[in-house]
């Protein structure tokens, strides 16, 4: 009897332990997604700042349709104050007591005349901060070079754009290289020349970028290509779900 009792109790004991959670699924792309999201942010900021130059050039060329399209793609509000002066264009976004001011210093010259512009940003609480510089190409009214540097590193490249008046399509093409310094890591990236990043109407993006990631603490590297063909209906789709990663 005692034997049966003990066996029964031992059997019951096995049910007291339990599985609390399934854990997480192995995702071999997760680290690449983290790296790619940083690179994408950098490329996107290059595109976004480039739109200011396109907007400024359209204003100087009195191309209202293109200026309006660029303004929409910059998400600038209708209430923004735009003042075109002889040597600069000042865009003031009023946010109550703390207006945001973007200044494009043109020095009275268009990008298509080979001018070097700078884009700076300031608020009532912060001093002027240069976001990017643009170098025009003489004789070309749809291409310029962009150079920007933030606290994490530089990005340099060329921007070309085409505007189709019929369907109001503005496609901005970005060919660039860049570096990003992070704590314990360095990322270098190159947009593939045959698959440039093209942002169309702020609603779709295609492109591919070669990325080299170095973990300076561990001495490890990752080299891969991230390629996206996606629309902007969900911003995170591009970064996380719709990118295809290929090991280099």
């Amino acid at each position: 009897m005692k034997r049966y009792m003990i066996v029964a109790l031992l059997a019951l004991m096995t049910f007291t332990g339990c599985k609390l959670g399934d854990g997480t699924d192995p995702n071999p792309n997760k680290s690449k997604q983290i790296i790619w999201s940083c690179v994408y942010d950098d490329i996107y900021s290059g595109y976004h700042h480039g739109l200011f130059a396109i907007y400024g050039e359209a204003l100087l060329n009195d191309n209202q349709a293109l200026a309006e399209r660029a303004k929409q793609m910059l998400d600038l509000p209708e209430t923004i104050s735009v003042v075109v002066e002889e040597e600069r264009i000042v865009l003031t976004k009023s946010n109550g007591l703390n207006p945001t001011i973007y200044t494009i210093v043109t020095k009275g010259k268009k990008l298509s005349e080979g001018a070097v512009w700078s884009l700076s940003y300031s608020t009532a609480n912060s001093s002027d901060r240069t976001l990017a510089t643009f170098t025009g190409k003489e004789g070309s009214d749809s291409a310029f070079a962009i150079s920007r540097r933030d606290s994490e590193g530089p990005i340099n490249g060329d921007i070309t754009y085409t505007y189709t008046a019929e369907d109001q399509t503005l496609a901005v093409s970005l060919n660039c290289t860049g570096e990003i310094e992070k704590v314990g890591a360095k990322i270098t990236f190159v947009v593939q020349p045959q698959k440039l990043f093209v942002f169309t109407n702020h609603s779709s993006v295609v492109g591919a970028v070669d990325i080299l990631y170095k973990d300076t603490d561990r001495g490890t590297t990752k080299s891969f290509t991230a390629e996206v063909v996606s629309d902007f209906s969900n911003m995170h789709d591009i970064i996380y779900d719709n990118a295809v990663y290929k090991e280099n």
């Binding site: 332990g17 609390l20 680290s31 704590v183 314990g184 990631y213």
Partner: protein, 218 residues
Amino acid sequence: MLLIFLASTLSAQNRSVEREVGEDYVKITKIIPNWAEKHDLRIGLGSVSLLSMMYLDADFFGMVDYNVIEQDFNDRVAQADWYRSPQYFTGVISFSYAYQLRRWLQLGGTVNFAAVTDSYRHCVTNEKMRDNNTYLGSIMPTVRFTYLNREKVQLYSAISLGVTIVGDTDYSELGPCYDATLFGCAFGKSVFGFVEIGNGIGGWGRVGIGYRFDAKKK
């Protein structure tokens, strides 16, 4: 102090019996204790409970684990190549000792141990990168009230209050804990089994085996 006080004030209750043997009426006066002071040793295993999970697994309640330190970017990338294996609860292993002071009262102590185990593994190689186990140990004085005390069956309730230490390889913390046996049933004589329904660190359901023996030689 409570234990010492109760032990010093309580004493055994005896009774005498009279028996009729054959045609002669023989009065046998024998002091038969209707209970005897006993030692009671138990080992058991308990199920999961809210209290044990509160200590062992912050994720269980969706609470933020404030012990997580903001990671550097390269650490985030390195650990993104890991995945977390399924998480298991060992059950609450308990050891208890009680001394039967009265027919209805036992005083003693309980020690519990439990763990939640999982690990981080590499997504590609499946190599174990780091254990992620959390352990819990508790010690509690216990008072057990037996409201049915037969030779082979006892029904009882119990209450314990004490402290628990929770930790992993990197940290540990001390906290209060309790355990209540709402309904317990022990079946058997010297070697016995028990099942309990309870609340607290010991789990909502417990099973185990025990051994009881007289405290004083007859």
